[in-house]
């Protein structure tokens, strides 16, 4: 036998005749933690950066982590480390946690949109044999919410219900049917209130606003949050060369994860709560449980089960988690609550239904002189992440283009519907679609190619957006160029026959949020990772990062394996329990890979340094000239001189026992000082560009997307297989939103499609072929250069499809989703307007380049060189948004530009011309009304 094989059980051979293989079969070529043959795998130079002597290309030059690369595993396409559990059915999701003696919990939900609870009589419920515990809102009066500034939720309604499906009470019984029957025995007296469904109505005063914020409440409206932001010189937009104005209606969409919410709560004999829940953000649940239950956090252990998809929909602390804990406390037995699919829609937290108005202008040189965005978003019954969403709808449109000015008004209103919240591409998706379609329209007015328009207006790497975001690495240009080439854009755009079209869309997204939600970033790091290595050589990594299928556990294992040059099978990541994991903020804002992998690298370096020190003592060579490779540490110039990993480990452990190290990550201080400056701040940003091809049936309005070229700049693909999976999966979700998915509220405000049959998620047949293109710009602060790949890739697909539809039929559509009825009526309107008879008479749009085209191409070419130098840090001069307009980046813009304004409140004279959401600024907060009185 040439090598040592680790086999579960006593399996005679690795591959059998029928092709079945041993699960987790691993070959461990010694030397190392096992065998005896003195043979080491050669270093994999293809995966060692060229900057440190390998062959991996480094287009952006040196990276701080290059020296920590060992060529072991980073950059290689590998399966997720937990995939064997998933393919054998052994992965344990929320409802798979079965504790002995468990009771089944059920939740009583409101049948009314908006009503006051005058009384609840539970006596008939309690009398039902088999019911063990009953609870109502009175048992848990403390409020909670994911954001500390907007805690407006209760475990169960305390005085009012705010939407159909809102929690009223809960029961625990010996079995499901008893629990369901018990729900029918509550006697409740209701006083119905006047509901609000239309977000525009939410801007008006109401007798009984859905929530009351005291002196901060805006008049008597249902506005939860209003935002005003203005940067730059607004006089630029007065005399536009081209202008686009689009009013959009985007319906709400849901995450549609396959696993319905489920939770199991159990108070152990010591009185500690053990709560099992599929959570993206276990730590916030931990905090909220502590508040609601009046129990200190250290008496609660939150166990994150496997998560059957999150996409933002499992990132709030949820009332049913509180209910399970309350029922378990009352009954003294474990309680399991599992949602059915309908309940998943009642708790919602999906993408906000939005009315978005985007005006934009360009000047005679094809520069974008201004964006003017107005976003009115429908928050539903609770705040959730809405405070942040209100900002994101504007500020996440400030890149990747250089802008002359930026103006944003946003408002989020409460309505009597299930709460909207964070969903993949949080807050950025809808505005991004509107903006990218606007650019397409302006390109058409100027007779230029929309890709060239974009290429001539990009912010370079290492620059600053108009709102002050710090852009570091930036692969936007390469992404655009690669999709242009891949899709043969130049021979297709505006040249395809009627009914066939091709379109472009871009996007950028935050890679981690610069400010943690719950604490002062100056005091605590964003992410912490602990590593422990004991005598057997196995490496245990403790992190709180919540793997929701995106592969964060794999990413953490990978970077540790890379630094220590160990096979990934020797790395064991423990991330399920709050008892054993360092606090982590959770899986949102695409922060996990960036922040946790960074922390993990630091911790692994801590272990490595202890090993190298031991090897130094043993070999007499300084760590600087020692090389780690495949469980061996050896002298750089004579590989024969070395020690095995275990020898070094045991030496290092001689006096101390197990090696321990920890690493932490904190994002650098960044950003401006204006109100809301923190929203959208991130240590790095990802960029993407997509081209989509569609077929539109001009008779029926049915759209099918046939091909997508999707280029995403993820900095560095730690695991290209997973990155491509994220890109393709994002396309799928975005296609759903643009083509079929919508939450339909009927005339009575009732959600009509709370099931997967009527809520139409694309099936395998609706999925186009996606050519996933990975762009690597190597972020200076990312772990080995990596940035996010989970959310950003969703943004460009929507506008790419909408633009392609225009290319196919010459009709601009601005109601999402583009279901056949929307397209059909768009076509009919177009026919009427142009005096045409039949859809076949429509002329596909065509492009003949105007004089501006040449100017843009020349500018794009010039900027390509500029970007290359900046990317490689050969040009390190300052660059801020505005340089394209001739301003000096080294002096404050306010000194150079007359009329430069940086404002978070409208001027009195602006009040008259504000858009829908902007009208929230016509109202006053209660405290100021009192001043006036």
């Amino acid at each position: 036998m040439g090598s040592y094989r680790q086999q579960p059980g006593a399996s005679p051979s690795e591959v059998r005749k029928d092709g079945k293989r041993v699960a987790g079969k691993q070959v461990f070529p010694p030397p190392g933690s096992g065998g005896s043959e003195p043979k080491m795998r050669p270093r994999d130079l293809d995966y060692i950066p060229e900057t440190v002597g390998g062959r991996e290309p480094k287009p952006a030059g040196d990276h701080i982590h290059d020296r920590d690369r060992t060529g072991t595993i980073v950059g290689k396409a590998i399966p997720l480390v937990d995939s064997n559990a998933k393919v054998t059915g052994q992965a344990w999701y929320g409802d798979d946690v079965r504790l002995p003696g468990e009771l089944i919990g059920k939740i009583l939900r409101s049948p009314h949109h908006y009503a006051r609870i005058k009384s609840i009589d539970t006596s008939r419920v309690e009398a039902l044999p088999g019911v063990v515990a009953v609870s109502t809102g009175q048992d848990a009066p403390n409020r909670f919410g994911v954001l500390p500034v907007t805690k407006d939720e209760h475990a169960m309604a305390v005085d009012k219900v705010r939407h159909v499906g809102d929690l009223v009470a809960c029961v625990a019984a010996v079995d499901e049917s008893t629990a369901i029957e018990a729900l029918s025995l509550f006697d409740i007296e209701w006083e119905e209130l006047e509901p609000v469904f239309d977000p525009k109505k939410g801007l008006e005063d109401h007798d009984e606003p859905i929530h009351w914020r005291g002196k901060y409440h805006l008049a008597r409206t249902n506005v939860q949050k209003r935002v005003f932001q203005e940067f730059g010189d607004r006089s630029l937009v007065k005399t536009p060369h081209a202008a686009s104005h689009g009013s959009w209606t985007m319906l709400g969409v849901h995450h549609g994860f396959t696993e319905p919410h489920a939770v199991v709560a159990h108070w152990d004999p010591n009185g500690r709560l053990q709560l099992y829940t599929p959570q993206q953000v276990p730590h916030y649940t931990h905090r909220a449980l502590s508040t609601v239950l009046d129990v200190p956090m250290h008496q609660i252990n939150v166990v994150r089960t496997f998560v059957g998809g999150g996409f933002g929909g499992k990132s709030d602390p949820f009332p049913h988690e509180m209910c399970a804990a309350i029922l378990a406390r009352k009954s003294g037995a474990p309680v399991r609550i599992t949602f059915d699919r309908e309940e998943v829609y009642w708790i919602n937290r999906g993408r906000h239904p939005s009315h978005i108005d985007v005006k934009m202008t360009a000047d005679t040189e094809g520069r974008i002189s201004g964006f003017d965005i107005d976003a009115l978003i429908d928050g539903g019954g609770f705040a959730s992440f809405g405070h942040v969403t209100s900002y994101y709808n504007g500020v996440l449109a400030t890149a990747p283009y250089e802008l002359g000015s930026f103006h944003y008004t946003g408002a989020r209103v409460w309505t009597n519907k299930p709460a909207s919240g964070a969903m993949r591409g949080h807050g950025a998706v809808n505005t991004r679609c509107a903006v990218e379609v606007g650019l397409d329209e302006m390109a058409e007015q100027m007779n230029v190619d929309p890709i060239d328009l974009r290429l001539a207006n990009l912010l370079p790497p290492h620059s600053r957006t108009i709102s002050g975001f710090r852009i570091t690495s930036n692969g936007m240009r390469e992404a655009l160029e690669r999709v242009r080439e891949g899709s043969s854009w130049d021979s297709k755009f505006r040249q395809l026959p009627l009914g066939k079209g091709i379109g472009i869309g871009c996007g950028f997204f935050i890679s981690g949020s610069g400010l943690p939600i719950h604490w002062d970033p100056k005091n605590f790091p964003h992410a912490t990772v602990h590593i422990q290595v004991d005598m057997d050589g196995g490496v245990t990594v403790h992190t709180g990062a919540a793997d929701i299928g995106q592969g964060s556990t794999t990413a953490v294992a990978q970077v540790v394996a890379e630094v220590l040059a160990l096979p990934i099978e020797m790395i064991h990541v423990r991330s399920h329990e709050s008892d054993t994991s360092p606090v982590d903020l959770g899986s949102y804002s695409s922060r996990v890979t960036f922040m946790n992998a960074n922390a993990a690298i630091r911790a692994a370096i801590g272990i490595r340094d202890q090993l190298l020190k031991a090897a130094w003592e043993m070999l007499g060579y300084h760590p600087n000239v020692l090389v780690l490779n495949d469980r061996r540490i050896y002298y750089k110039h004579d590989p024969a001189v070395g020690v095995s990993y275990l020898q070094a480990l045991h030496k290092a452990q001689a006096d101390t026992g197990a090696l321990i190290a920890r690493g932490a990550y904190r994002s650098p201080p960044m950003g401006g000082v204006h109100k809301g400056a923190a929203a959208g701040l991130a240590p790095a940003y990802s960029f993407s560009a997509y081209v989509a091809e569609v077929d539109v049936d001009i008779e029926t309005g049915l759209i099918s997307c046939t091909n997508v070229w999707a280029a995403h700049d993820c900095g560095k693909a730690l695991n290209p297989l997973a990155v491509k999976g994220q890109i393709i999966g994002s396309c799928h979700m975005g296609l759903g939103q643009v083509l079929t998915e919508k939450m339909v509220y009927g005339r009575t405000g009732h959600l009509q499609n709370a099931n997967l049959l009527d809520y139409k998620i694309p099936s395998v047949h609706e999925m186009p072929h996606v050519e996933a293109i990975i762009v690597e710009s190597s972020d200076p602060e990312g772990p080995f250069g990596a940035k996010e790949a989970g959310e950003g890739p969703l943004l460009p697909i929507l506008p790419a499809v909408v633009n392609a539809v225009y290319d196919a039929i010459g009709v601009r559509l601005r109601d999402l989703p583009l279901t056949p009825d929307v397209v059909y009526s768009g076509i009919q309107k177009h026919l009427k307007k142009n005096g045409l008879e039949e859809p076949e008479d429509i002329e596909s749009p065509r492009l003949s380049h105007g004089p501006l085209q040449e100017i843009l191409v020349a500018r794009g070419d010039e900027h390509r060189e500029r970007d290359r130098l900046r990317q490689r840090s050969e040009d390190t001069s300052a660059y801020v948004n505005g340089v394209l307009f001739g301003f000096d980046p080294d002096r404050p813009l306010s000194e150079q530009v007359e009329g430069w304004r940086e404002a978070d409140e409208p001027l009195p004279e602006q009040l008259a011309e504000l858009g829908f959401a902007g009208r929230a600024w016509l109202k006053k907060e209660q405290r100021h009304m009192e001043d006036d009185a």
Partner: protein, 200 residues
């Protein structure tokens, strides 16, 4: 949904004897006569790998093989399949030996969050039992009843194709198709391997 019968009954009605072969082992449990197969499998037989995503026949997470045919266990009454031969995801592997379809789902990115995976695996194993050489279109038809929100299906189809190749005996290799860095210098210098007896 709730019948009178539950009012005074603790514990729940013991129900009828239900017997079937699940993953090659005979099972006999007591289940109410209106019990749904999905519930019996999860709650009584203990095959928690069978997932419940919707209860309405719309997600495919609950797919199991009944006498070789993939069916939705949430739409099947347990009573209908008395004595049948049922295979769940737990029955695809043989002890520690994973079926090619399982390995390929791992190596080709067919599983992200993994919740839909059991259903996909059963549906695609059923396809491969019938057809060792399916086209991408045939694969798509075999999994059209399964919903995946994570992967966008493309890597699932890749996985099934790869497994089919193993079934046909054409492929041994489990490496995923995508290689991130095509080697720019294929014949570049290697590093020395360790000679024996090296350590100081």
């Amino acid at each position: 949904m709730v019948g009178e019968e539950h009012v005074s009954m603790i514990p729940a009605p013991a129900g009828k004897r239900w017997a079937a072969t699940v993953n090659g082992r005979p099972f006999e449990v007591l289940a109410p006569s209106n019990a749904v197969l999905l519930d019996v499998l999860r709650d009584k037989v203990g095959t928690l790998g069978v997932k419940r995503g919707c209860d309405l026949g719309t997600c495919g997470c609950c797919t199991v093989m009944i006498d070789g045919v993939p069916k939705l266990s949430c739409l099947t009454l347990a009573g209908q399949v008395q004595g049948a031969d049922i295979i769940t995801v737990e029955g695809l592997s043989d002890g520690a030996h994973l079926a090619p379809i399982q390995t390929c789902f791992a190596t080709h990115g067919g599983s992200q969050c993994g919740f839909c995976t059991p259903g996909f695996l059963v549906a695609s194993q059923a396809l491969l039992n019938e057809n060792e050489n399916p086209t991408r279109q045939e694969i798509a038809c075999a999994i059209e009843g399964n919903l995946c929100r994570c992967t966008g299906y493309q890597q699932i189809i890749d996985s099934i194709e790869a497994a089919a190749a193993i079934h046909r005996g054409e492929s041994e290799t489990l490496a995923p198709a995508s290689e991130p860095h095509p080697d720019p210098h294929p014949s570049g210098p290697g590093e020395p391997t360790m000679p024996p007896g090296h350590a100081k």
